[in-house]
């Protein structure tokens, strides 16, 4: 693959998270030494069960942790060779990392267009209007909704949140569960868009997803986190083949697809624990 070659020639990754520890509220230790590397131009995905610390990792990178009384107490985060774990969130955005936060977090008392314009807040060029049209092309539903964004349906808000990230044209996007609440058709479309802008605009992605199938298919590399630690990582091909991943994230290891109806009384133990 072309990107793999690039990576080989350019050893310093765009983003590297080195062994960070994160503490909330001065007392609650959530990440216990997490290291992640995201090479330039690639899509890297981060999988893991609820409460593993995925969102926390993203917030640590984007600097938003500080507004939640969280703190990186050990380790460091480097972006383009520069240390960013001490920087303000807004400066990090300016240096090119944009996060799509979990739970949509659109600005409810503004219209869709105003939300999109805000996505482009750090941009100074004149193509904002053009990009708004682009987002409306991706998500035609948004164009019809002229009222306040707070009245949009859950899925529509999710579209808006993704659209807002596209407006920013950053170097790197951190996506926290972009497919959440989207209809199956749209999930496919969103992953299509992610791959497209990664390819066309060369935007690097760090993707947190529960939909492991799609995520691993789209990504070049994957990490799996559990209870604040990375427990497994590898190229997406490798992960797709891994027995445990198949069992717990993709569904159906050896057999056909398991039915949700079959209650399991026996659970296979995870080997990485």
């Amino acid at each position: 693959m072309q990107q793999a070659v690039e990576q080989a020639t350019n050893p310093a990754p765009l983003l590297s998270v080195n062994n960070i520890e994160v503490v909330y509220d001065d007392v609650i230790l959530v990440l216990r030494g997490v290291s992640i590397e995201v090479p330039q131009g690639q899509i890297v995905t981060l999988l893991g069960p609820n409460g593993a610390g995925k969102s926390t990792t993203l917030k640590a990178i984007s600097g938003l942790l500080k507004t939640e009384d969280g703190e990186v107490t050990r380790g460091e985060i480097q972006f383009m060779g520069e240390r960013i774990d001490r920087k303000n969130a807004e400066d990090i955005v300016r240096s090119g990392i944009f996060q799509v936060m979990e739970g949509r977090r659109i600005i409810e008392d503004m219209t869709c267009i105003e939300n999109l314009r805000l996505g482009a807040f750090t941009r100074r060029d004149r193509q904002v209007q053009q990009d708004i049209e682009m987002v409306f092309d991706y998500f035609p539903r948004l164009k019809e909704r002229t009222g306040l964004a707070g009245y949009l349906s859950g899925g529509e808000q999710q579209m808006l949140a993704i659209g807002r990230a596209l407006m920013a044209r950053p170097k790197m996007i951190l996506l926290d569960e972009p497919s959440m609440g989207l209809s199956p058709l749209l999930v496919k479309e969103v992953f299509g868009i992610i791959e497209k802008i990664n390819r066309e605009q060369g935007i690097t992605m760090l993707l947190v997803e529960q939909n492991a199938n799609f995520a691993l298919r789209a990504a070049d590399y994957g990490y799996i986190m559990e209870s604040g630690k990375v427990v497994l990582d590898g190229s997406s091909q490798d992960l797709l083949q891994n027995e445990d991943v198949k069992q717990f994230y993709l569904g159906g290891g050896n057999e056909e697809r398991r039915s949700f109806k079959d209650l399991k009384s026996y659970k296979r133990r995870k080997r990485w624990l």
Binding site: R141, L185, Q210
Partner: protein
């Protein structure tokens, strides 16, 4: 009793200004069923649940619960009648502990008030609180969240919050439980757990379930009947297989051109 559906929605329409969120929707949910509502984003699914639980009042139509008209009852009155629900955008009490969040679900079953409650040791309040606490602990055990019992709900991760929401809704002891995308933000393993909880609720606790979900695997596997909405209109209603076979559903909702993804666990 069995001939009266637990929930009957008759020709409900709802519009916000120009937006027609629901147009002339009728359906009924029988006691003991798992009934799913699916449809594209913005189809009006959540609005439908809001009409049932009382957040919105429909412009037209009636809603009957166990044969009683509830169309214009306030939400809290409907909760007392036995309608519980979870929310698509989490709506927990962020600063309360998980335990207290779930205890709020018991609100309508408790009798102590601002006068007897504070007399705790000298009134029946203590006994009552503890009895309900016991029931709540059972729910906690059932949903396997005992490790976060004392955690503050607002600090939990997304998936855990969804679980607590479910617990709170169960605590209401509703006859009808409305679930708005219970599986969102869960990985496969957690979805499996969640599916199991829902089936248990249905089979063992005898709750009738009405659920909105985008994960077709789950919908197919555990629902008895499925209704499809699109642009506020009802498209079809029937058994999961029948619904899935519907051409409109396939095109507008599933986007069925990608057979490659089919066999891999999630019919995404």
């Amino acid at each position: 009793m069995s001939d009266v559906p637990l929930l009957k929605v008759e020709a409900v329409s709802l519009a916000f200004g120009g937006v027609k969120a629901l147009t002339d929707i009728s359906f009924s949910v029988n006691s003991g069923e798992v009934f799913s509502i699916i449809g594209p984003n913005g189809a009006g699914k959540t609005s439908m649940l809001n009409c049932i639980s009382g957040r919105y009042s429909p412009n037209q139509g009636r809603i009957l619960f166990s044969g009683q008209e509830v169309t214009h009852l306030k939400p809290n009155a409907r909760a007392e009648l036995g309608i519980g629900r979870t929310f698509q955008n989490l709506a927990l009490f962020g600063h309360m502990s998980v335990l207290d969040n779930i205890m709020v679900g018991r609100h309508h079953m408790l009798n102590n008030n601002f006068f007897t409650g504070p007399l705790y040791w000298f009134s029946p309040a203590k006994r009552e609180e503890l009895a309900h606490r016991r029931a709540v602990e059972e729910i906690i055990d059932f949903l396997e969240i005992s490790h976060i019992r004392k955690a503050i709900a607002g600090t939990l991760s997304y998936g855990l919050r969804k679980r607590v929401e479910l617990a709170r809704a169960i605590a209401l002891k509703p006859d009808l439980i409305l679930l708005d995308e219970p599986m969102a933000g869960m990985n496969l393993e957690e979805k499996e757990d969640m599916a199991r909880y829902i089936m248990d609720l249905n089979a063992e606790f005898g709750m009738t379930v009405t659920m909105i979900e985008h994960d077709m695997g789950v919908v197919m596997d555990i629902s008895d009947r499925v209704m499809v909405l699109d642009f506020g209109k009802k498209v079809v209603e029937g058994s999961p297989e029948a619904v899935m076979a519907n051409e409109h559903v396939q095109k507008a909702y599933l986007g069925e051109e990608d057979p490659e993804l089919e066999g891999t666990g999630e019919v995404a």
